[in-house]
Symmetry: C2
Subunit: 380 residues, 2 copies
């Protein structure tokens, strides 16, 4: 079989880049295919490495994967240190604030579930929260501390990964049109310019665009969940605005503020399934309103960027991750929804394990990309 | 005397462009000097030609100029029709809405002053206002109609003027460093690249930057009054969102929504003197909050642009417009604050009258650029 590389990865978002780098550092030759690496959801992502505060009801099955992935981050980042790009990894922890009584009850209930799942989340007195974050406003009525919920700057991590993949693999800045098969074996990726990248293994990791690739052996039930996200700059006199990541429930609306080392703050994020990829005026209003309830000084910040991006959602909010029954030399890795950055090291390790023929983790069946196909639904 | 042109105009904002065009169409040769024409306050301006609803207490002395200028607009725009650029002039009128009781009282009091000054403003029943603008929200409690307050698109007008000045004059895309004098006669403009534009008459019309020009015979007491302004796009299903310009007082905060023919809406504008030229998160929040009080459907719009620009303010909020005592061949035209677009045709006519030696209007003394100089203050 004529192959150019061991592994062809379609998609240069944080997931595709992570898989490509994982394969490279395990000794495989890799081509990563993307016309605009890190230009999609990765460009907007806040970068919270926060398995505890990211826990949602009925998504507990994701916990093993998210906790495992968060624990892999220090080593994963260390493997990229040679690139000289600082990914802005901060282990300061997260404070989760409540506004009204219902917010307080919801966070206390969630805390019970978090603790039952061995996640470290404690309610702390507000005066203690204010000692470390003096700009918390008077409207906050309860604070929960998640010391193990960290963050990094996804744009910088992507920059490090692009540098690493470019240096030690091939970065193909073209759009993939489909995957090619011979019988039940995938042989590589055809590009829009008519060329072909032959590969022993092919990984489909191009987010929402994965569903449009020709030649896939199963449907990928992806849907765009749009989010508005703002970048704010903290004026000199107010620095540092925050040291912790601040999350909150503000009269039922979730909001977060992630402080970066460069003096900016990321404020997000709405979730809209209205089909509009444009920034929503109502969404921006709601983010600024709710953030000011938690941290009134947000009004004093400079608005430097307003973005909308789509996250790739799936019917059960779990990723489409793994091989497809009856097809060889293909791994799918998409549908990471809100968890792309958090899950990158674990997804990368799992994908490369699979293409090396190693057994995946026990719960892997839950993520199988073809679990929604007719006749398989009962198994998921 | 060695001169390149009859008139050198420093500054290619809407005022400088208007003066240059007025001089050209009266037969003078003109050079307009600006490194980035229409890139300053003009780029942000909403373009309301609204002498009635723009009336502010203690600024009644500006009324003769603003009303005169508004009446000159149709002919002024007609003179530019040959450029083929449609300036988006709309004569639909303005509706001014009140929210709470204090807003209502303030607008009713202002109406008394407006009517005393022969401006056409009538309170109309809300149900009548809603007949023409069905998206007015339930929180509005009073409506005033100003049928003679119109609007245009300042970016398109600037485009027409740039086309006209380029075609029939000289557009010099360089920065001016100062004006040159021989005795008490101004002889032209020196540029940052070391070259010189000799002119029989020099007009200084470069907004806030005027104060930094070398060689001026008097101080120009300009200060930046920053404004945040948003551009929103109306989705197909909501078009047209509005036909009138909507202004309002929302619990004491002024806000306006100007609908454009291209399906966008301009939402403005804050006034800040905090020295920050960055977009204010608090300012954007306030605009979106107050606009939604008047027109709730604003939440459904797409946020396509967020800008901050500085308006050139003066100590008495009147322009610095006219010659300077003891200096010949120089006219100053800056400090137009909130009224640059509105006052363009009148300011252009007045400036060219002055350099042609014609007498200015009686109230011109009020606008003399050196009225704040020591020993003159009592005269203003």
């Amino acid at each position: 079989m004529n192959t150019d590389v061991d592994v062809a990865v379609v998609g240069g978002g944080i997931i595709g880049l992570g898989i490509a780098w994982e394969a490279i550092r395990r000794g495989h030759s890799v081509a990563l295919i993307d016309p605009d690496p890190a230009g999609g959801a990765t460009h907007a992502a806040a970068g919270m490495i926060a398995p505890a505060s990211e826990l949602h009801y009925r998504e507990e099955h994701l916990l093993r994967l998210t906790v495992d992935s968060a624990s892999r981050y220090p080593e994963f980042l260390f493997s990229l240190a040679w690139t000289g790009v600082d990914p802005g990894y901060r282990r300061t922890g997260t404070l989760v604030l409540a506004l009204d009584g219902a917010d307080r009850t919801a966070l206390a209930d969630l805390q019970t579930v978090q603790q039952r799942n061995s996640l470290s989340v404690q309610q702390i007195p507000l005066r203690e929260a204010r000692r470390s974050e003096p700009l918390i406003g008077p409207a906050a009525t309860a604070a929960f501390h998640a010391p193990d919920d960290h963050q990094l700057d996804p744009r910088r991590l992507a920059q490090a990964l692009i540098a690493a993949v470019s240096e030690r693999g091939r970065l193909v800045r073209r759009r993939a049109s489909g995957i090619e098969r011979t019988g039940n074996r995938v042989t590589g990726v055809s590009l829009e310019d008519g060329t072909f990248v032959g590969a022993r293994h092919t990984v489909v990791a191009n987010g929402l665009a994965a569903a449009d690739l020709a030649g896939l052996p199963c449907q990928l039930p992806l849907r765009p969940v749009y989010g508005d996200i703002l970048r704010l700059r903290v004026p000199e006199a107010l620095q540092p605005l925050l040291t912790h990541t601040i999350r909150g429930l503000v009269r039922g609306h979730a909001v977060y503020l992630v402080p970066r080392e460069d003096g900016t703050v990321v404020l997000g994020a709405t979730m809209r399934e209205d089909g509009s990829s444009a920034v929503s005026a109502g969404g921006v209003y709601q983010l600024l309103r709710d953030a000011q309830q938690l941290i009134p000084a947000v009004a004093e910040l400079e608005l430097v960027e307003v973005l909308c991006r789509a996250r790739p959602g799936t019917p059960d909010n779990a990723p489409l991750l793994g091989g497809v029954t009856g097809t060889h030399n293909l791994v799918i890795a998409t549908g990471f929804f809100r968890h792309g950055v958090l899950l990158t090291p674990a997804a990368a390790a799992l994908c490369v394990d699979l293409l090396e023929g190693k057994p995946g983790p026990a719960e892997q069946e839950r993520y199988k990309p073809d679990r929604f196909e007719e006749g398989r639904a009962w198994r998921s």
